[in-house]
């Protein structure tokens, strides 16, 4: 056999370190998705409350079905895992499914990154229907903050204008860039309760969980998660791999190394919805706090916003 073909065989990704772990991770993810899909794919459940029909099922129905489905599939890979850990894994997976369902219509998250206890970056994201508000609370907020998308129109701030500036339809400003309201919401929902959270919870369950019951009825589930399951690789920039935490902060240090095991804690409120997510590496902490899932008020367009398009047209006429 030619040397080139031999070399090709040796380069088969099956031989790479971590391949077996990847199969395990995919297996866990598959079971979780089946559990979640099982919840969505059962439209004839009798316990549906009409008010929540937009989700296909009531939140309680989703949780019950997810728990049932998870229980079936836990038998597949739970060898060597104690019943207590199985229960914790099922509970946290159920919470992830319930959180995703609760976040479907509206919600609020606060994302914070601290270094040595000091705030390094923070933002609050609110959404309701197809409208979004992103407010950067960092010491040096990004340009344009806060950012609003209401009825498909993008609003922000511009150094050359006082007050709000209406930047026009999002889809027209940057077509195909992923910044249309629908795409932004898809990304946020994926981070709030979709694929991102389910992937982390699956990894935590696989690595073993410890639980701590709090006096307020909440439970804190702690475990380790490979950084690659939290901060997703989104591409390359200036010759370097970029990994981005949920809600858009670029990972660095150990968090940028996909194989690093990061301490992760998920707080599930008494109602069964995830309230807080915390990831720690070295002196850094990344937290996401969820609130008002399903009850975040409508987001209003700012009054008296200056239309950037009209401003530019007027400037052209004045020349």
């Amino acid at each position: 056999m030619p040397e080139s073909i031999d070399a090709l065989h040796r380069a088969n990704p099956r031989a790479e370190a971590g391949f077996a772990a990847t199969i395990d991770a995919v297996g866990a993810e598959v079971r979780l998705r089946i559990a979640a899909a099982g919840a969505r794919d059962e439209p004839r459940v009798r316990h549906v409350r009409p008010r929540r029909r937009i989700l296909g099922l009531s939140a309680a129905g989703v949780a019950l079905l997810a728990a049932a489905a998870v229980a079936v599939f836990l038998t597949v890979d739970s060898s060597g895992v104690t019943p207590g850990v199985e229960n914790a894994a099922a509970a946290i997976k159920k919470a992830a499914t319930l959180t995703a369902a609760s976040a479907e219509r509206s919600g609020t998250v606060q994302v914070r990154i601290t270094h040595g206890g000091q705030l390094w970056a923070s933002k609050v994201i609110r959404w309701n229907g197809n409208d979004v508000e992103i407010n950067d609370l960092s010491r040096k907020p990004s340009a344009g903050s806060p950012l609003l998308v209401v009825n498909g129109l993008l609003y922000g701030h511009d150094p050359q204008h006082e007050g709000w500036v209406q930047l026009g339809p999002v889809s027209n400003i940057d077509p195909g860039s992923g910044t249309t309201p629908t795409e932004q919401l898809d990304a946020i929902r994926e981070d709030v309760g979709g694929a991102t959270l389910r992937r982390m919870v699956a990894a935590m369950s696989a690595s073993g969980l410890t639980t701590e019951d709090r006096s307020d009825g909440s439970t804190v589930y702690s475990g380790t998660v490979a950084a690659g399951q939290i901060a997703r690789e989104t591409g390359f920039k200036e010759g370097q791999t970029i990994r981005v935490f949920p809600f858009g902060y670029v990972a660095h240090g150990a968090a940028a190394n996909a194989a690093s095991l990061l301490d992760t804690a998920v707080t599930v409120a008494a109602g069964g919805v995830i309230r807080k997510l915390a990831v720690t590496w070295g002196t850094w902490t990344y937290t996401v706090t969820y609130s008002s899932l399903g009850s975040t008020p409508r987001i209003a367009a700012p009054e008296h916003a200056t239309s950037l398009l009209k401003e530019r047209m007027r400037a052209v006429h004045e020349r």
Binding site: R14, E29, V30
Partner: protein, 183 residues
Amino acid sequence: MSEDRSQRFDALFTAYGRDIVAYCGWRASSPTDAQDAAADVFLTAWRRLDSVPEGDAARVWLYATARRVLANQRRSRRRHVALQERLAAEPTAAAPEPDPEAALVHEALLRLGARDREVLLLAEWEGLTPAQIGAVVGCLAVTARGRLHRARRRFRAVFDELGPEGRVSRDRPLLAKEGPEHA
């Protein structure tokens, strides 16, 4: 949800999970996308378990499904990556040092056309026969055999041309080069 159904699905994942994870690994744009795609493939298999053929044909069915899942993922990913980068703050991480021979293979593969690369890797990495490759990519077995023959010849030529001094670009996914395909 019957016990038989669960058992059949478990058997399917045990038998072919490794293959689909590997296939998605070299066809997706990133490791996390690969895991997402592989999970999607098996979720599809679960939903359509009655349509999944028995025996080794199930493997081909899974590869063909993975191919469609990855195509859909690429379309949606273009938009999502743009959003992530727009929201991102600062880049930092460094890529690991590649193995020289693997990097050479990777570079040679990148210099092939997308179609050549696909049939070559389906044969050499996934162990599919020309008939199975034809079923996965949607062509006749005889066509797949011809493409595979040409792909092997081109890969050998590029590999030899690059030699041990070949330029390394392991940090680019195999999917990155989707240039004009060979006839």
